[in-house]
Symmetry: C2
Subunit: 321 residues, 2 copies
């Protein structure tokens, strides 16, 4: 095992020192911008964590693929922000807003290719497996975005559908990160699969937590204004569960754009509270996180591995109490 502080520093160094290809003015600026405005870098951090369970030192064979996961994730954010018409990302203007839609399309495209360039630096002996894992994941993430957009046009979305959507949009890339670290680190196929499942369940927990914190979080900790999903009338775990629990008037309240923002947020949260959705969300996050750790336990990891993954899960979703 490699110490947490060393892994944290490795992720920081990886993105502080990241270099993109030179090209026509404007094409690569959005890549640098998006990496500079940061993010939690969950995916590379998890990839390095599972690798470090099997290997004692970090080399380019893992650092570049780990960076590729974050670059791919960032590419999907750039394109999603166009499709969702989101003006802000992490408190900063989105790429299409700051530059243009055309720039966001093309810079996103070149960023997805950059991701593949980094993933392809995995050891040649296992490159076909690494690529198969990554490409399968990448197209599933697109499937998830498609479902997300489809759901926005529908009145009723069942919880099973919602969980499948966030599994594709968020779960599989975190699962891929966990598995890729283990695969490159030399884990058995069986352990790889358990770590994939750990990442998938943790990804679900993370997304439900994100939905929960959007309504119930502390703005300073959450990093963006509270109530964004409510104001945008967006479907979330909270809306889907509240409808299941029989909250009356929720759809109308979410669709009402005449109310003042604070009033709309207060009304929707009152409806959530009337059916006890916040407690349910916290319980679900705890259950998913526990299931994830159960999968890590099944992986029969070398000494220190399980503790590292428990710690990772706690750091990611433990903020929801």
């Amino acid at each position: 095992m490699i110490a947490d502080t060393i892994l944290d520093q490795a992720v920081k160094d990886l993105f502080d020192g990241i270099r993109f290809q030179e090209g026509p003015e404007g094409l690569y600026d959005p890549l640098r911008y998006m990496i500079a405005i940061g993010g939690k870098r969950i995916r590379p951090r998890l990839c390095l964590t599972t690798y470090s369970i099997y290997k004692q030192a970090l080399t380019e064979e893992i650092l570049q693929p780990a960076a590729g996961l974050e670059v791919f994730h960032t590419f999907t954010l750039i394109h999603d922000d166009i499709m969702d018409h989101s003006p802000l990302r992490r408190g900063n203007p989105t790429v299409w807003k700051k530059w243009s839609e055309d720039t966001a399309i093309l810079s996103g495209d070149v960023m997805s290719i950059d991701a593949y360039k980094r993933i392809a630096q995995a050891p040649a002996s296992i490159l076909p497996e690494v690529l198969q894992l990554f490409s399968k994941t990448a197209s599933e993430v697109c499937d998830g975005q498609q479902l997300d957009m489809d759901f926005e046009k529908r009145n009723i979305v069942r919880m099973s559908e919602y969980m499948q959507m966030i599994g594709l949009k968020t779960g599989v890339l975190i699962a891929c990160a966990a598995r890729m670290g283990a695969l490159i680190g030399g884990a058995s196929r069986e352990s790889q699969q358990h770590l994939y499942d750990y990442g998938y369940l943790l990804g679900l927990a993370f997304q439900v937590a994100d939905d929960y914190l959007d309504a119930y979080g502390d703005e300073k900790v959450f990093g963006k204004p509270i109530g964004g999903d409510i104001l945008n009338g967006k479907k979330s775990w909270l809306t889907v569960r509240a409808v299941e629990l029989g909250a009356k008037g929720l759809e109308e309240a979410l669709a009402d754009n005449t109310a003042a923002p604070e009033e709309k947020i207060a009304l929707v949260k009152a409806l959530y509270n009337s059916v006890g959705v916040a407690e349910e969300a916290r319980k679900t996050i705890g259950e998913l996180s526990a299931q994830a750790i159960g999968k890590a336990r099944e992986a029969a990891l070398p000494e220190g591995g399980l503790e590292a993954l428990e710690h990772f899960a706690h750091a990611l979703v433990g903020r929801v109490k």
Copy 2:
């Protein structure tokens, strides 16, 4: 060598029988649509041609990467059509026009991933090299699209800049196709490089021919209405060369959207003719094609190889007389 008719049939079978992943409704329909409306399939055909110089039978190790090149090319068309606001492609509505911009963005993304899935089926022993060639090419194609868009905003574009742009936008992917076939076929590194240069020069000849035929072609042979570039005021080899040769009033004529279409086309062609740009274009196409064949000659190919590439070049740009 494998006979031309067999290679033609192999390309036809490859796309008649192409299968894309199943996914959310709507996401994969544009892929099937774009493949169904066809195209010349130059890139897979050239890839199979250079492979067949070295190998006697076509197997999945070359068929899937060859298909990947066409899928990648098609992805760039889907996104370019959004950025260029083009309503038609090969006489059919473009994806953004037929579905929506969001669908065109996301289906394009998933198509670029599909391309990588196919490229990754190259033999494992040379996969790192194949991927490096492909990813380098893919990001250069994006660079070319960025330059093309930049040039549309400028008044003056020098011929050297224009040739660099079409080299990136069109040349490098045809060059990559030629090299990839040779690489997977087992050619020496030196022969691969000569075949890359053959493809690059032939790609330039092809693009200049496309620009020429847009103004001087036969609509039935060219496959789209004559004068499209002129009506759209688009920079082409003809406009760049005519300005160099001192054609007076060309920019104003191209920018004038008040004239009737036939009149605008007639006026611009009269200006082209006043400085003899059509003859120059035909000469340049012939020279580039001859240079390409010179590179194929330097590659010291097995018997029949040079003739196959001469034949390919003739079929591609020999229609310009």
